[in-house]
């Protein structure tokens, strides 16, 4: 993975010192909260319902065990013993004190980490496929280019006060696990007629109160021109994105209101000016960065396999875990392991300091010192030898991290909701907990198969409810919390936005409502290979609506 050189280290140290001074000025009163806000936001510091929240960047979701241990140390020392992994592949701490922030940032800098641009109206942390560099279905590892984008966008002087935040996601695989069509810019690896690898550029996707699927603005941008192309999009957005209404300020609204062709024309005109200029990325530089991401020195384990069916008989829980939590690796004899942060009754994405340390140890011992954070709020050991799976599993079991529910109904995305968030209208973690209790039975989960439930506690959609096969949105109604249910969302390459199918439910009715939908699906599906989403697409909204609300 990428290692800081002297320049990167000095850059982060400089930024840390700069923010330490800004915190000092805030504490002394020299900076007003209004003036401090954009500065702290650009350093990942939010003011939440109860306390400050610090969001730490995990660039493209990749961590070393040393970095992971540092996160455990911070959770233990400066927070309440846990951290929360987010849908942007970052981690946030919910209880740090403002006066401790400079020290925390110094600690982070010591392991090549920072909180730069994890918030604020700037270019946020670039996210990728959690299996990047490991996935069998990958065209190219997107992380070298993600790292270059990280560098280019870090403290960009022109794009630090954009109309609104700006999120870039990329995937090197045709199977989109990074939700790139729901980002301001999505990049998907593509090959041109000559066989060169470059990027499809998608623009104007997003969730929030106006969910939009990104539109293809350029079918092939070669690596050497990618930064120039991105800068062209950013400039058009910075100049012409709406600033009169923060809810209409994302680039998706600009693209939607002006039309793709108009925006494309502006971007292409800008690109014509900057193309071939100083942002041209030389192949040597790409090679230099790519070398950091060279695959580990894998052993020849081609013959090694695990008999899942057999293991399922002698140890059903292990069997389930093998069945659900492994992803095919490009190297024979290896697998990528998803560590679920979705135990029944837990808060999705939370990990204790001890769990963080344990995962760090596993990464060091079994995954070439590397681990990943997924946008679905789980962790991944990307390179585990098949012969080590049992050993990894046993450690996970001992620390309540062995839930074999990846991609099943209890593997929910869930925002922090009203329990933490100043923006939320409704609780979301308790809803997730209740649903996971309802469907706790592993056999039942297996029977239901792939089903993504995503829960947001407000219209801002941090829980990605729009793209849940079943989405749950908490709203405030007459002083109480009410939950709307959407169906048919899809964050992958088959991108679709879920539709609200009827009136909302009280919190305690939500698990039953989900159950009705699930039971209807089970009854109607053509076979176990037809997923909930496929069945919904085949049957349409009406029968599901009827199943849920009756034939009124």
């Amino acid at each position: 993975m990428y290692r800081y050189d002297e320049f990167d280290a000095a850059f982060v140290a400089g930024r840390t010192a700069q923010f330490a001074d800004q915190v000092k000025r805030r504490l002394s009163g020299e900076l007003s909260e209004d003036q401090f806000r954009p500065l702290r936001l650009m350093n990942g510091l939010y003011l939440q319902l109860h306390a400050y929240m610090l969001r730490i960047a995990v660039p493209y979701g990749t961590l070393s065990s040393r970095q992971m241990r540092k996160l455990g140390h911070i959770a233990r020392t400066y927070d309440r013993g846990y951290g929360h992994f987010t849908t942007r592949q970052n981690i946030q701490f919910n209880w740090p004190k403002l006066k401790d922030i400079p020290v925390i940032l110094e600690e982070l800098a010591s392991v090549e980490m920072h909180a730069i641009q994890t918030s604020g109206n700037c270019i946020r942390n670039v996210t990728t496929d959690q299996f990047a560099g490991a996935a069998a279905d990958e065209i190219i590892d997107p992380r070298p280019v993600a790292e270059i984008i990280r560098q280019w966008s870090s403290l960009h002087p022109e794009f630090s006060y954009l109309p609104r935040k700006f999120k870039i996601a990329m995937t090197g695989s045709p199977n989109d696990r990074a939700a790139i069509r729901f980002h301001d810019i999505g990049l998907q690896a593509a090959t041109n007629a000559a066989g060169d690898i470059g990027w499809e550029v998608w623009v104007g996707g997003g969730l929030g109160r106006t969910p939009m699927i990104a539109k293809l603005i350029n079918a092939f941008v070669p690596n050497e021109h990618l930064l120039a192309y991105l800068e062209s999009i950013m400039r058009v957005y910075n100049r012409y994105g709406r600033r009169d209404n923060k809810y209409k300020a994302r680039i998706k609204i600009l693209v939607h209101e002006e039309g793709l062709e108009s925006i494309k024309g502006q971007v292409e005109a800008e690109f014509a000016e900057v193309r071939g200029g100083v942002l041209t990325l030389p192949q040597e530089e790409l090679d230099r960065i790519t070398a950091y991401f060279a695959p580990p020195d894998f052993a020849d384990r081609a013959g090694e396999t695990v008999d899942v069916a057999y293991q399922s008989i002698i140890d059903p829980a292990y069997g389930r875990w093998l069945d659900n939590n492994l992803h095919p690796h490009k190297q024979p004899g290896y697998a990528s392991v998803t560590i679920s942060l979705k135990p029944v009754g837990g808060a999705p994405g939370d990990a204790t300091d001890t769990q963080i340390d344990v995962v760090a140890d596993l990464a060091e011992k079994y995954s070439y010192d590397e681990l990943r954070v997924t946008h679905e709020q789980n962790l991944v050991l990307p390179h585990v030898a098949v012969s080590d799976l049992r050993a990894v599993y046993d450690v996970l079991v001992a620390h309540e991290l062995a839930e074999g529910n990846n991609n099943l109904i209890t593997d929910m995305i869930c925002c922090p909701g009203l329990d933490f968030c100043a923006l939320a209208n409704a609780r979301s973690i308790p809803i997730a907990q209740e649903i996971s209790h309802k469907f706790a039975s592993p056999e039942r989960q297996k029977d239901i198969g792939d089903l993504k439930i995503k829960i947001s506690g407000c219209i801002n959609a941090c829980g990605h409810h729009h793209v849940g096969h079943i989405g749950i949105l908490g709203v405030e109604k007459k002083g109480g919390e009410l939950y709307q249910i959407t169906l048919g969302g899809d964050a992958t390459e088959g991108a679709s936005v879920g539709k609200i199918i009827g009136p909302g439910f009280e919190a305690d009715q939500v698990p039953d409502a989900i159950e009705k939908l699930v039971d209807f699906y089970i009854a109607q599906r053509t076979g176990s290979e037809e997923t909930f989403l496929d069945a919904y697409r085949r049957l349409g909204e009406a029968p599901f609506k009827e199943a849920l609300y009756g034939n009124a």
């Binding site: 002087p157 022109e158 600033r243 030389p282």
Partner: protein, 424 residues
């Protein structure tokens, strides 16, 4: 208003700039005041030059020279209402004897006087403000009309004036002509005697530098001639002179209060705020809003006066590319520090349109955004936020020494990302 032949002024002005101020200063013998004056009036700023005279103890010398070269050169006299009767009489005497044809008295705004000095004793409690309403304010609209000024300043007069040249180009692109720069007290006396010039009636009584009656006292033998001005107060200049940078030094907005930050220091700002309804022909030293410029483009392009352009967020500067070189300064507005459109405007001006003049940030200009502004090509800032100004004065900008992206025209320094370290 006494004005003529404006059209030729910018040409000479350009010539002056092209020559360079040092070259011009080397053209004349140190003591050849009349040649300096003649060249200034006839060649440098024909029709665009004036003089402000106090009609004080040694004003006669310069006014005599003026009368030799061009008796119709506009001469302004600040009739503060606080002058010695002897001074007022002396104005008439000099007009007659020297044959000056174009002497104008400038009076303070009567509303200001009523408001700030109802009892006529402001000079006693707050001499700076007294000077301001009686001299600086009334003179301002006059100074705006000319491309340059003749002054009677001399190097010897006070330590602050020790390095005065014949010609100065001020920071606002005006020219100050100091024909007497190298004259000593004795030279003045000798010239006066040689040409038999009438003496100020108070000179013989011990007044060596004469201003308003309440603030002028007699200086002792050997004392600095100006020591008699504002005696006992820490005040050396009345406000109508120019500071070292050549901008008008007004006591109310003395160096500490300047809001224009440029080249590492706060300096006087030659530009004034744009006021709605200004006619194109009257505009000078203002930043004309883009929409106003477009609406009256021909008029502004025909104007010989120094102008700036005010670019607001949303303005499409691409449409003005051909006209950019006409502006001495471009102000980019930040209505709020969170509005980042100005960064793109600045980069386009510098990098794409090759605008090489002043680009100033105006509006909500705060310390923590300034490093970004400077990287994007701003070379001047108008700062009103107090902690920000302190940070600038104390060189405490939250600057990052390193950066990843190439921005602006300067070479990315060594040590930064190799692929970005390029010169085009």
């Amino acid at each position: 208003m006494p004005k003529s032949n404006l059209a030729s002024a910018p040409v000479a002005h350009e010539k002056l700039k092209a020559l360079g101020i040092l070259a011009l200063n080397g053209m004349f013998d140190e003591m050849d005041a009349v040649s300096v004056l003649r060249y200034a009036i006839n060649d440098v700023l024909p029709g665009d030059l004036a003089i402000v005279s106090s009609f004080g103890a040694d004003s006669a010398v310069l006014l005599h020279m003026v009368a030799q070269v061009d008796p119709s050169l506009p001469v302004y006299f600040l009739e503060t209402g606080k002058h010695f009767a002897e001074t007022l009489a002396y104005v008439e005497t000099l007009k007659k004897t020297l044959g000056l044809l174009n002497v104008h008295a400038i009076h303070p705004n009567s509303d200001d006087v009523k408001r700030f000095d109802p009892n006529g004793d402001l000079w006693e409690t707050d001499p700076d403000s007294c000077c301001h309403i009686r001299k600086t304010e009334p003179l301002e609209p006059i100074t705006e009309q000319y491309g340059g000024w003749v002054t009677g300043r001399k190097r010897y007069q006070t330590s602050e004036r020790g390095v005065l040249p014949h010609f100065e180009l001020t920071s606002d692109d005006r020219i100050k002509v100091n024909p007497l720069a190298y004259f000593s007290d004795a030279d003045v006396t000798e010239y006066r005697q040689a040409h038999n010039l009438p003496e100020h009636p108070l000179y013989a009584k011990g007044y060596k530098s004469i201003g308003c009656a309440p603030c002028t006292s007699i200086v002792a033998e050997g004392e600095d001639p100006r020591a008699g001005r504002w005696r006992g107060l820490n005040k050396k200049e009345c406000g109508i002179h120019y500071d070292f940078n050549g901008a008008i030094a007004s006591p109310m907005t003395a160096a500490a209060r300047h809001t224009l930050w440029k080249e590492g220091a706060f300096i006087a700002d030659p530009f004034k705020p744009w006021s709605e309804g200004t006619r194109p022909a009257d505009a000078r030293y203002v930043h004309v809003p883009v929409s106003e410029f477009i609406a009256n483009r021909a008029d502004y392009l025909a104007s010989p006066h120094p102008l700036g352009l005010l670019v607001s967020p949303g303005d499409n500067i691409e449409t003005l590319v051909d006209d950019l070189a006409r502006f001495a300064s471009i102000a980019i507005a930040f209505p709020s520090f969170t509005d980042g459109r100005g960064y793109s405007s600045a980069r386009l001006l510098v990098e794409r349109f090759k605008y090489a003049g002043e680009i100033r940030a105006v509006g909500d200009v705060l310390q923590d955004q300034i490093p970004h502004m400077l990287r994007c090509g701003f070379n001047a800032l108008v700062v009103t936020h107090e902690p920000t100004r302190e940070a600038l004065v104390e060189h405490r900008l939250p600057e990052m020494a390193l950066f990843y992206q190439p921005v602006g025209l300067t070479e990315v320094p060594m040590g930064t990302r190799p692929f970005l370290r390029r010169v085009s």
